[in-house]
Structures are given as C-alpha cells and as structure tokens.
Symmetry: C2
Subunit: 146 residues, 2 copies
C-alpha cells in the first residue's frame, strides 16, 4: 500500500550536509523510520531500536526525532487516538490516509487540499499558513478482507 519508498542514505546525507554528525545510533533510527510501513510513535521506535542496540537511550530517540522533524525528513501525524506518530516526509506535499483496521498510512495527492484551503481563505478572509488533514477509514485491502 505505501507505494513510495525512502532511501536511508539520503537522510544520512541530509544530516551530514546540515552539519550534524553521523552516528551509529542515528543510522539505526533512520533505518527504523524509513523502513516502517506504519506511523511510529517515539516509544515504538525506541523499543525497536533496543532490539539491535539495547543501550539506546530514550532521550536520544526523542532528540533524533526532533532533529529529523526540523530537517523536514520526518513528519508528525495525529493518529485516530494517539497524537504523536511519525512518517517519512515525501518530496511532494501529500496528505495522509490511515487505515483503522491495519494501521497503515497511505499518501494521497494533496492538490485538492490546496484548492480547498485557497477556497477557505477567500471565503473567510483568514490567512492560512499551515494545515493538518488526516483521513481515517478502511483501506482497499481491508475492505476486501472484510
């Protein structure tokens, strides 16, 4: 379902270019986030990280997430229940669909959202500088298996 792939190498390059040091912890965490088909919470990422590097500290994971978010590589999403899960940012602006059955995230074309925002700005007079849209429901696969 994800369709789009992220290359961990690119993330490490981006870190390096931004003046940050490239460490083994970071390689590990980047690997985890970029490979996951599901939005991960910080705690989930920490758990997975300790499978291969048991001494990984909790704070490191949070710091890393913050860093990746600032670099625009990771994007915070607001799940149906929880509020802090993360998915890799795609080069194109996209909006997210989350399947309530299998939990997977699917990226959708955001052009319609851009149009909607434009429309709302015109109608209300407010200036919109940021937006959060997430759609929830049953994905194509889960509809068939139901």
């Amino acid at each position: 379902m994800p369709g789009k792939k992220i290359n961990p190498e690119d993330w490490l390059t981006a870190l390096d270019k931004s003046g940050f040091r490239v460490t083994t912890v970071q390689e590990n965490l980047i690997e985890i986030f970029s490979r996951s088909e599901y939005p991960l919470s910080a705690e989930q990422a920490w758990e997975i990280a300790r499978e291969t590097r048991p001494k990984t500290g909790r704070a490191t994971v949070y710091r890393m997430i913050e860093k990746l978010e600032k670099l625009g590589l990771l994007r915070r999403i607001h799940g149906y229940q929880g509020c802090s899960h993360f998915v890799p940012t795609l080069p194109e602006l996209m909006m997210l669909f989350i399947c309530l059955d299998c939990g997977r995230a699917d990226y959708l074309d955001s052009q319609p959202l851009d149009d909607l925002i434009q429309q709302s700005e015109d109608a209300s007079g407010h200036r919109v500088t940021d937006s959060r849209l997430q759609l929830f429901g049953a994905c194509v696969d889960c509809q068939q298996n139901a």
Copy 2:
C-alpha cells in the same frame, strides 16, 4: 469572531435525557466550555473550574469531558502544538480554523471538505469514515493589527 453560540441549557437537557444526573459540577463545566471562545484543554478547564469551585477534582473534569464527547456535545481538536483541546460541537458539520496569534477558533463551512473526501475516496479506493482537518494561520483581525 466565533459567530455561533451554544446554549448551556441544551447541554444540560441532553445530559438529562441520556439518563445522566445533572450536578452542579457539570453545570459549572458546561458553562465553561460553552462560553469559551478558545479551545480549552482539560487542564485549562480544570483551572477555570477551580476559580469558582476550588474543590473540583481533576478526574471529574476528565470524566465530564469524556461524557460530553460521547454525547457529541464537545469535540476534540488538535491544536498547533498541543493535541487535546475541546470546542463545542455545532449542529452543522464544520471545520476549524485556529488563529496562531490570538488563539481563537473559527468555524468554517465543511462542504468543500466533504467534496474533497469524496474525491479522495474515488481516486484511492479507500473508504473514509472519519477525518480531521484543521487550518492554522492569521485571522482577519490579527492580520489588520499586524
């Protein structure tokens, strides 16, 4: 800016009709939520509640919010930073704009959002059962004062 008003009496009636008991704590909290122009967090509501009823318990506020949410009177929104603020639900479906300067919430017509969702369903094949959209930026008033 809010434009729409909520009548506390209606909320109490709704509680009563649903078989819940009507208490003074609830009256107080309903008053607080229905009067506020700003989305309130549970902690904020608790703080305000204790101004007039110092002994109000924290758990009571959380329980009350849960109840009002289940009755569809209160709606959880995801602020720009925080993730759990609440606004009164309006009879019509509406989407929210939050001003990043003054913090106020404005309700916008949600028809365009319905159309967008329909469009996304058709394009992706997923079935959308719920959505969260919030717009952030500068409201009309704050743009003028800038």
